[in-house]
């Protein structure tokens, strides 16, 4: 395949995805370098979420494979998942738990223990100051998404971020914060794959645009 170790970090090779009776995409190939973002856009139902789920091994491609640092991710298994953060369209926020508890358990499940003060501080930066103890049930859609995104600052050591529509329902301020988080991750050599309908405004970092067609 001729890609030096560690350079072509994330690769999709001839990916094909069939959902139900429909072929969403086929012969889809791309290479993302370290410090580069892959912005996937396209109309609803064009297979953006399916592509992201294939990249994080939740979904098996019909044919083709995903490679991480030159090796198929199916082979890497746990080692691949240990370097991966996925925030899906479903935000994994429990209605009956407070924002603080949601964040704490999301991180604990990730094998990550963080001091209470740091959690509260992070939630505050995500615009949830004073709402840490409220059950997620009473939060708005955008606030619930913020709770799930508040994990990201603690995932700096995970090389690959896969974010499905992270900017949906966020206000201008939160979108700016997300841009800053993503930029910082790319600068430190991480890889970010994200879907978004709104234009991605990342300065001084390289963004590859993958347009899915219906």
């Amino acid at each position: 395949m001729g890609v030096p170790w560690g350079l072509g970090v994330l690769q999709g090779v001839d990916l094909e995805c069939i959902r139900g009776q429909r072929r969403l995409f086929s012969k889809l190939s791309f290479t993302v370098q370290a410090g580069e973002a892959l912005w996937v856009s396209g109309p609803n139902g064009s297979g953006k979420t399916s592509l992201l789920r294939i990249l994080c091994t939740l979904l098996a491609p019909e044919s083709g494979e995903v490679r991480w640092r030159g090796r198929p991710v199916r082979e890497l298994g746990e080692a691949y998942r240990a370097g991966l953060t996925y925030i899906g369209h479903a935000v994994a926020v429990k209605d009956d738990l407070s924002s603080l508890e949601n964040l704490r358990f999301a991180l604990a499940q990730d094998g990550c223990r963080v001091a209470e003060a740091a959690l509260i501080d992070t939630l505050a930066r995500f615009g949830l100051a004073g709402r840490e103890e409220l059950p997620a049930r009473v939060l708005s859609q955008g606030q619930r998404r913020r709770v799930s995104l508040a994990r990201l600052p603690f995932c700096a050591d995970r090389a690959l971020w896969i974010l499905d529509e992270p900017l949906t329902a966020l206000d201008v301020q939160a979108v700016e914060l997300m841009h800053a988080l993503i930029t910082a991750h790319l600068v430190r050599g991480g890889v970010v794959v994200l879907t978004s309908h709104q234009p991605i405004d990342l300065k001084d970092v390289s963004v590859q645009h993958l347009r899915m067609v219906d």
Partner: protein, 236 residues
């Protein structure tokens, strides 16, 4: 902003910490939705208490039906909460996160089974001897019943979790779970009720309890793995 970006996680936490976080979260959720927990508990009490009223106060008949009644009620009560075991996690995306955890999914499933047992199994074990009094069961038989439930109810939670995982995303899942899981419960029912019957007749209960212990060990090995495989298919 810098402070956020520089937050350093402590990832030295091991398998046990992740396992216990899964258990803790489910227990906390159960505490927040106490009505669900109390429903299966009172269902058990009421079903068991209806029989002496329906059958009549003949001590010999009551002693004879007691083991079967208590165990069947325990099976049904433990099944009541099953459809909630994984369905909510499936709907809100939590299950995807568990699947993507670098820790073994089977272990995380074992955590969910343990939480289910702590919430539904333990209360049954504690109240069952009291309910046994309504059936005029002698003291030793009550002790054997509690011991049998202690060995048997974790098996119910574990096998039930397989059923819950297999029916994820299926319409009418709660009915289907019953059809899938109840046949699997039969061995536990036979030996659980058999132990109490033997104790009532003054026979040795060791064989029955050993079988229950064997089922417990067997499901502890097989069920987490089977549930994990079913969950992987469901999230796809």
């Amino acid at each position: 902003m810098e402070a956020v970006l520089d937050a350093t996680p402590d990832r030295r936490t091991g398998l046990l910490a992740v396992f216990s976080s899964v258990v803790q979260r489910d227990l906390l959720l159960a505490m927040r939705r106490r009505a669900d927990v109390l429903t299966s508990f009172f269902f058990f009490i009421i079903v068991v208490s209806l029989f002496p009223l329906g059958v009549g106060p003949e001590p010999n008949t009551l002693r004879e039906i007691a083991p079967g009644v208590v165990w069947v009620a325990a099976l049904l009560a433990s099944m009541l909460a099953l459809h909630r075991l994984l369905a909510a996690d499936y709907a809100d995306g939590t299950l995807e996160q568990l699947v993507l955890s670098p820790k073994p999914l089977s272990l995380l499933m074992l955590g969910k089974m343990l939480a289910h047992w702590l919430v539904t199994g333990i209360p049954l074990i504690l109240i069952a001897p009291l309910l046994g009094l309504q059936f005029d069961l002698p003291g030793p038989a009550l002790a054997v019943m509690a011991l049998g439930l202690l060995l048997g109810t974790p098996v119910l939670s574990m096998l039930g979790a397989i059923g819950a995982a297999l029916t994820l995303g299926v319409r009418g899942a709660s009915g289907l779970i019953a059809l899938l899981v109840l046949p699997l419960y039969i061995p536990v029912l036979i030996f659980g009720a058999g132990a109490v019957s033997a104790a009532v007749s003054g026979l040795s209960v060791e064989g029955h309890l050993s079988m229950l212990a064997a089922f417990l060990l067997f499901s502890a090995v097989i069920a987490p793995w089977a549930a994990a495989a079913a969950v992987r298919i469901a999230v796809e």
